[in-house]
Symmetry: C2
Subunit: 214 residues, 2 copies
C-alpha cells in the first residue's frame, strides 16, 4: 500500500515529461525502482494509473479558490489566490503539466469533472466577483474570463518554464524568478481591476507571507 503513493508520484513525473502516450509502463516502473508487473498489480492498466495521477492532482486545484469570499477584501483575496497558484506552479510543476496536457488533448479523462465540479466552483466564485463589482469594489470584468486569465498566467510558470528559462538565458527558474512572476501577475490583476494598493507594501507583504509558508 505504501507503494501506491510512490508509484503515483513517479508516474506523475514521467507522464509530465513524455505525455500519456509517450510514457511507458516500463519507464514508470524504472523510475519507481519496481518491476513493471507490480504497477499492474496495484493499478490494473495504464489508463487507470493515469486516472489515479489526475485525481491526486485535482484535490489540490479547487481548494486554492477558498480565499475568494463575499466578505473578503478583493485585493487581499485575489493576491492570496494568485500566490497560492504560483506556489503550486513552483512546488508541483509535474502535476500542472500533466493537467495541462490532459486539457490540451481535449480532456478525455477529465471531461466530466470539468463540466460538473469545476464549473460549479467557478459559478460560485464568479458570483462573488459579480458582488464585488456591484459594490464598486473592483472594476467591471467578465468573472469567468478573469479566472481564465489568472489560471493562464499562474500555470504558465509551471507549464512553460522551459520557454521562460530559454528567454531569460538561464538553465532553470529560481526562487527569484517565481517571486518576480508572482509580483508581476498580482500587480497586473490588481491594477487591472483598479484596486492596486497605494504603495508597494501590500504586494510585498503577501510575497513575504508566501515565502514563509512555501
Amino acid at each position: 500500500m505504501a507503494h501506491r503513493a510512490h508509484i503515483i508520484a513517479c508516474a506523475e513525473r514521467i507522464f509530465a515529461e513524455h505525455g500519456f502516450a509517450g510514457a511507458t509502463m516500463s519507464r514508470i516502473a524504472e523510475a519507481a525502482a519496481l518491476p513493471k508487473a507490480n504497477l499492474h498489480y496495484y493499478f490494473g492498466t495504464k489508463v487507470l494509473l493515469y486516472r489515479a495521477v489526475l485525481e491526486n492532482i485535482l484535490t489540490l486545484w479547487l481548494d486554492d479558490m477558498d480565499p475568494i469570499t463575499p466578505e473578503a477584501d478583493p485585493a487581499a483575496a485575489l493576491a492570496a489566490y494568485i500566490a497560492a497558484k504560483m506556489a503550486h506552479s513552483r512546488n508541483r510543476p509535474h502535476a500542472s503539466k500533466v493537467f495541462a496536457a490532459e486539457l490540451l488533448h481535449g480532456a478525455p479523462e477529465l471531461g466530466t469533472y470539468l463540466r460538473l465540479d469545476l464549473r460549479r466552483k467557478v459559478a460560485e466564485k464568479s458570483a462573488v466577483i459579480e458582488g464585488w463589482i456591484a459594490r464598486r469594489l473592483i472594476a467591471p470584468v467578465e468573472p469567468r474570463h478573469l479566472f481564465f486569465t489568472i489560471w493562464a498566467m499562474t500555470q504558465t510558470y509551471a507549464d512553460f518554464d522551459t520557454q521562460m528559462a530559454a528567454v531569460l538565458g538561464i538553465d532553470k527558474l529560481d526562487a527569484g524568478d517565481y517571486a518576480t512572476g508572482t509580483e508581476t501577475v498580482i500587480r497586473l490583476v490588481l491594477r487591472g481591476l483598479g484596486i492596486a494598493p497605494a504603495g508597494e507594501t501590500e504586494v510585498s507583504d503577501i510575497m513575504t507571507q508566501q515565502r514563509r509558508t512555501a
Copy 2:
C-alpha cells in the same frame, strides 16, 4: 509537392489532438487520405514530419511582435499585439496546441530556436518596453514577465478551450467568447500598466478592426 502542405496541415491537427507519441503515421495518413508510405516519401521519418509542422508554426509567432516599436503608442501597440495573438488562438488552435505540447515536454525539438531566435526577439522588444517605462508612458514592469503573462493569457484561449467551454457550459467557444476574451486581456494589461483608455472607445476600435481583418 502540393501534397506536402496538405500533409503538414493534417499532421498538425493529429499532433494537436493526440500529442507527438500518441499520433500515429497511419492516423495522419488516414486524415490526409493518402497511403502511409507517401508520408514517408515526403518527410522520411515521423520526427522530421513533426519538425516540419513546428517550423511551419514558428513563422507565425515572431511576426506578431512587430507592432511593438519605440515610436508606437504603447496602448495601441500592445492592444494590437494582444489582438493578433488572440486571432491566432482562434484561427490556428491546432498550431498553438502543438507548440504548447512541445514546450510542456521540455522543447526537445525547439530548444535551440527558443534560446536563439525567440530570446533575441524578446530582448529587443523588452528594450522597447523599458524605453516606454523610462519615458513614463507605462507603469514599471519586468518586460519579459509581461510577455510571459501576455503569451499565457492569449494562448490559453487556444490551448485550454476545452476547459473554458466546460466552465461556460457550452460545446465550443464562439466568436463572442473570443471577443470577450480579447477585451478582458487588453483591459487587464492596459489598466495593469496604467494606460487604460479614457473611455471604452479605444478597445472597441481595436476589436472592430480585428474583426475586419480576421
